[in-house]
Amino acid sequence: MNETATPQMQDQTLEDYTTADGRKIGGVMMDLKSITLRFGGLIAINDISFNIRQGEIRAIIGPNGAGKSSMLNVISGFYQPQEGEVWFMGKKRPTMRPYKVARQGIARTFQNIALFEGMTVLDNIMTGRLNFMKTGWVAQSIWLGSAKKEETINRQKVEEIIDFLEIQTIRKTPVGRLPYGLKKRVELARALAAEPNLLLLDEPMAGMNVEEKEDMSRFILDVNDEFGTTIALIEHDMGVVMDLSDRVVVMDYGKKIGDGTPDEVRNNQEVIEAYLGVSHD
């Protein structure tokens, strides 16, 4: 039974299907092929392949130092793997700087929150819309009609997201003054403002209390459900992972040790050993 989640098994059927709660899962959107990432002598990611399908919530789990964040950084272009290929939307992606990856529709949040602390919540989220602004800078600085219209449209979109994430009351607050849980939410809002195809969340619930975790889980599900956004997330809380995700990749010491549905992964012997330890006798 513990063989159900071997790497060979993962690409089972790639037909579109509908989940029990009515979400549509499509073909492969992001395909990672034999990714290897080294930092000098340290191998952070060792020949890992897995894919992310259109519309699904894909979790990456594993003990500390397993290479999960490195994996996310490879996907978002912050790290360039030494070996392997990244296929996105059916095309092989060349070596690409992170800002270009972002412009391709891959938004992300960070484990240690990367927000513009000096700006207000609204301004922070507006930065997510930068790539939607097309009028020239002269028009913008003298606040011409076209620039004004564009700003209004983008502002509306941002307000929708603010409503969606229930952060109306803090929209004019400088981010630096917010408590941790709200900062995480603002970071999610900024990522959403870019209307991403693929949303990468690096430990969206780390350091949160139960109530905040429940809120965040609900938002993640709603984002996936309402906007159809494909989500890849790293999370430590097993309960959350099992509830949220459609499929799970398990990493340990830079290797993939499991891949499959939450149930499959939960019963995988290697995964159990990685998490609970194993007695060597």
């Binding site: 978002s76 700087r97 800002y99 972002a102 990367a114 000096g118 700006m119 600085s141 003298i142 900024r190």
Partner: protein
């Protein structure tokens, strides 16, 4: 109104205008420091270089002519044409943008993530390089910059204000060039503020100033923003170079105006555009008033040191400056 009082006002007016000029130089520092954390020691030399280039282009000088003559034994110096001032300014601006690009491409791109002190050292190197480059391109002789800006005291203001006081008051002496410089500086500052507040690139600039990683994740190219910021600093340097150059000639000492910007920055804070302006005004007015009131008692020449002493006091009591960000580390 008593003559003393009126002369006091005149001193303040002149101080304000001098302050605007200081603020102009300080602005260049703030722009770069805010966006990249680099304290650009070369800002003063950039002003000198911009002024040299402007004069060179206007007079139709052939760049590197000394070098060319030395190598090829030719005797060329001049294209034989003169370029109108506005066109020359536009061309100089292009040169400054090219310079900004080169600085990013060949220098700071390779120093991303280095300690601030290393970046600072790099700008010192840059300052000397640019100083030599200016000499090599345009020669080291002292040049006059004649843009046809009005010079000398304003007769109108003098005559109009003469009636304010009694027989011993002869009206305000306000330099016309100072007035032009103030107006230009104010326009420049307003434009910069509008740019950074209302444009996409301005927003991106503020984002980069705040957090590099976050900026990358929303699709901002750091390289582009840094070139943009250095170009803006080049524009500010050009305006400062033109104004100071028109006032006191284009020569090496022009680059020393950077030293006057230091106390302004300490007062206003290194990260605040309004801070640079208010700081400049306070120093301008402060040093003129101090010279006018206390100066005679202690033998004058207080303008040379007043600004630095004031800055020292600020360093002791309010190190982040008037408007700077107070850095609080949460433990």
């Amino acid at each position: 109104m008593s003559a003393d009082f009126l002369y006091g006002i005149e001193v303040i007016l002149n101080g304000l205008m001098a302050g605007v000029m200081y603020a102009l130089v300080a602005l260049g520092f703030v722009l770069i420091f805010k966006a990249s954390g680099i304290f650009n020691f070369a800002q003063g030399v950039m002003a000198l270089f911009a002024a040299l280039t402007l004069v060179g282009i206007m007079e139709g000088q052939i760049p590197f002519s000394h070098l060319i003559n030395e190598i090829f034994g030719t005797k060329i110096h001049n294209f034989g044409w003169e370029v109108p001032a506005l066109l020359a300014i536009a061309l100089t601006l292009l040169v400054m943008v090219a310079f900004a690009w080169a600085v990013q491409q060949f220098l700071f791109k390779h120093l991303v993530g280095q300690e601030p002190i290393i970046l600072f050292m790099a700008t010192i190197g840059l300052a000397y390089f640019l100083e030599g480059m200016g000499d090599l391109m345009w020669g080291s002789n002292i040049k006059t910059l004649d843009l046809g800006l009005p010079q000398g005291g304003s007769r109108v203001i003098e005559e109009l204000s003469a009636n304010l006081g009694g027989d011993d008051f002869y009206g305000f002496f306000i330099d016309k060039l100072d007035m032009v410089a103030s107006v230009v500086a104010i326009i420049l500052v307003l434009a910069l503020i509008a740019f950074s507040q209302y444009t996409k690139h301005g927003r991106a600039m503020r984002a980069v100033a705040d957090d590099h990683q976050a900026a990358l994740s929303v699709g901002i190219s750091l390289n582009f923003i840094w070139v943009l910021v250095w170009s803006l600093a080049g524009l500010v340097a050009l305006v400062a170079g033109v104004m100071w150059g028109a006032k006191s000639g284009v020569q090496f000492s022009l680059s020393l105006i950077a030293l006057k910007a230091l106390p302004v920055l300490m007062l206003g804070g290194f990260t605040s555009i309004p801070g640079a302006i208010v700081g400049g005004l306070i120093i301008g007015v402060g040093e003129k008033l101090f010279e006018y009131t206390v100066g005679p008692m202690i033998g004058g020449a207080t303008e040379n040191w007043f600004a630095y002493v004031l800055a020292l006091l600020f360093l002791v009591f309010r190190p982040q400056g008037l408007f700077g960000e107070k850095i609080i580390e949460r433990v």
